[in-house]
């Protein structure tokens, strides 16, 4: 885990410095004609951007060791606060979208496999292929237009925490969760279907059936549990992606989430914030994989005993 994070830290630090432009130029050479080169140099000094790269890197890593992410070069605010503000929303969207995806994917994939090559299977496959083909943000735009045209209503454009108003919170987040969850469910449905088909052809399933076990028991106890392994991998990886990857969907629904913060931090050349966000996503991805490994062991005793 640590070597991975160290590699990510070096990589993002270097990549940000390779990009043309810097936060000072963007901020002061923008709309006014009067910002002088001297003013720009002064600001660079103030932000520590005039220091040699190795010193900037050492300062950053030193802060990380003390769990201090530093301050945003753009806003001057503590990075931990900038991230905490958005993390709650992103996490909530990810959880809701995952719930939508799981609730759709598991039954649909199961039914499609059990009823292979029937109209049910074809319908599920059509539904999931459409989900893969339709970008989430486009579906989001359709949802917004549909709500506007049909009901003259738009979801709230500001985030309300669930503990302040659960209804308002849900009224804003359920739509992006549906848009994202649908695409997410399409991936998981197809994985569920193919995993189920494979498992249903296994010897132990045939044996269980031959023993005269009740078909529903065969399905749930012997087939589904084994088929869930690859499906769970997909769910976990997608969940990690959703935390920081919903850039366009967040724009469409005006969600103040990590994806949008990510893009803005890069657009502002806010080195410290981008570095912190990349590391955060790396940590989440590593942790998600770790959780997946633990769940594999729980689902499949062979892994536990290996």
């Amino acid at each position: 885990m640590l070597p991975t994070l160290a590699g990510v830290a070096v990589l993002v630090f270097v990549l940000m410095r390779v990009l043309p432009g810097d936060v000072v130029e963007l901020r002061f050479a923008g709309e006014s004609s009067f910002a002088s080169k001297a003013a720009l140099d002064l600001e660079r000094r103030r932000l520590g951007l005039d220091a040699p790269l190795w010193r900037q890197f050492a300062r950053w890593i030193g802060g990380l060791v003390r769990l201090d992410f530093g301050r945003s070069l753009w806003t001057g605010g503590p990075i931990s606060r900038e991230i905490a503000l958005r993390f709650q929303l992103s996490l909530e969207v990810a959880v809701l979208a995952t719930a939508v995806a799981v609730l759709l994917a598991v039954p649909l994939g199961l039914v499609a496999a059990v009823r292979q090559d029937t109209w049910v299977d074809y319908a599920v496959r059509l539904f999931s292929i459409a989900g893969l083909a339709v970008p989430s943000f486009w579906l989001g735009i359709l949802l917004i237009l549909g709500l506007l045209v049909a009901f003259g209503w738009l979801p709230p454009i500001e985030f309300t925490p669930v503990y302040v108003s659960p209804w308002r919170n849900l009224a804003q987040l359920v739509w992006p969760a549906l848009a994202v969850g649908y695409r997410y469910s399409a991936v998981a449905t197809r994985m569920m279907r193919s995993a189920m088909l494979e498992v249903l052809r296994e010897d132990y399933v045939r044996t269980a059936r031959a023993k005269g076990l009740w078909p529903r028991l065969v399905l749930w106890r012997h087939a589904v549990r084994n088929a869930m392994l690859p499906v769970f991998t997909v769910i976990v990886l997608e969940f990690a992606f959703l935390i920081g990857g919903l850039v366009v969907t967040e724009q469409v629904f005006n969600l103040n989430g990590l994806g949008l913060l990510f893009v803005e931090s890069i657009a502002h050349r806010d080195y410290t914030l981008t570095q912190a966000l990349v590391l955060l996503v790396a940590v989440i991805t590593v942790l998600a994989n770790f959780v997946a490994d633990l769940v594999y062991a729980w689902l499949d005793p062979r892994i536990r005993y290996a």
Partner: protein
Amino acid sequence: MRRIAAALLALLVLGLPPARADEEPRRGGELVFVVPSEPPSYDAHREETFGLIHPLAPFYSLLLRIDPTDPKGARIVGDVAESWTESRDHLTYTFKIRRGLTVHDGQPLTARDVKASYDHIIFPGPGVTSSRKGAYVAFESVTAPDDRTVVFRLRWPAAAAQALLASPWNFIYSAGKLAEDPHWYETHINGSGPFVFVEHVRGSHILGRRNPRYGYPGLPYLDGFRATFVKSDSAQIAAIRGGRAMAQFRGVSPGEREQLQKALGAEVRVQESPWDCANWIAMNHDRKPFDDRRVRRALTLAIDRYEMASALSKITIVRDVAGVQVPGTEYATPPAALETIAGYGRDIARSRAEARRLLREAGVAEGFRFTLKNRGIAHPYEPIGVYLIDQWRRVGLDVTQEIIEPAAYFSTIRAGDFEVAVDFQCGYLVEPDLDLYKFQSADVSDANYARYRDPVLDDLYRQQSRATDKAARARIVRAFERRLVDEEAHYLMTLQWHRIIAQRRQLRGWYITPSHYVNQQLDTVWLSE
């Protein structure tokens, strides 16, 4: 010794706002508007984005302000200044500060606060960045001889002095806070404006509530406002359409205007104005053949600006053919005179024949290839770039457009890493000093991306800047314009931007001006329902 130059204005000040009395304003309600950009810090003296002005101007007062009811956005009236005089030699401006003003923290607002604020802008201390310090080179000192008097002393007469003191960026801060920490206002809000700061949730919104102790009795009309940050254009339009917001005060495109009008009918009200912003084309004088003025003139001659205006105004935020000043304003060249400038003639065939002749004379071969670097912003940069490519192709030039990510745009053009690039200029007031500053020689103006040195142009700028007679100043501005875009063709003007504001019907008392930086204090705004 001093002549009274503003007695009439002082009367106007006392009566501010000189509202357009369509209807009796209604009290109460919360104005919700969307802002496409968010302020990095809260300090207007250092920031440059309208994203700071729109949500934060309601918290602050200015010394002078642009009259919120003047559609030309040119009439200057007092804000904390009750009256002012200008000395006969135009070197001293003396302001009387209104009585009974208080800062939101309860402290009285005095001349000391005005002085401290202007010192912060014009003479920033060590480690303090003031973005617009360069605009105040004529200002020698600011003094506050007593609590109600502020005196600005100039080194030389400056035609733009009052305009510079009416800058929407010049929030009046508390002298005490600035003395404690000159960076205090980067992270705190404490003004004397019509609204008091309530909260800022980063990435989400800024909230203000009515200031009961606002200096103008009876104002503001609103109970409060909510500035919601919405970055995506389509989400902004959806917010207005869905009733989540009442306006976006920067501007929308013609397509978005039509979309809202079609969806909302009489529920939406549209205001339009020429916009004090324009896209200019910088031709890099350090790169051949753009060091040759014949080539630069050929590039401007090739453009049919009238056809361009007709075509592009349907799809993007440009409309008027213009010189260096917003059409119809005090120092703008009238249309007939404009037509005598290279590239502004009505006979485009003749202009293009001349362009081809100049290119031949300069040794530029048919099919000469160059790259136009453009900023990756949809409106109006990209349509302008596409149109120019077509126009230059008609005189035998082969142009490729390279779209640069907005974040990398300034570093690219400031470093001179381009042949021809789309540049822009925006101002808060149509005022030659503000609008022409960038076009001085590169060793004078850091925003001169075409990288030329032209002492004649610099001298003309200086002359107009110090001209105290308006007619004389207009003549010098014309001479500057002719040298800049015709004789030397250092820069090439495309079209004046056109500002379109689509607002919900119930939003009243807000009038469009040519600048998206002014008229945002919101004290005269009210809601009809």
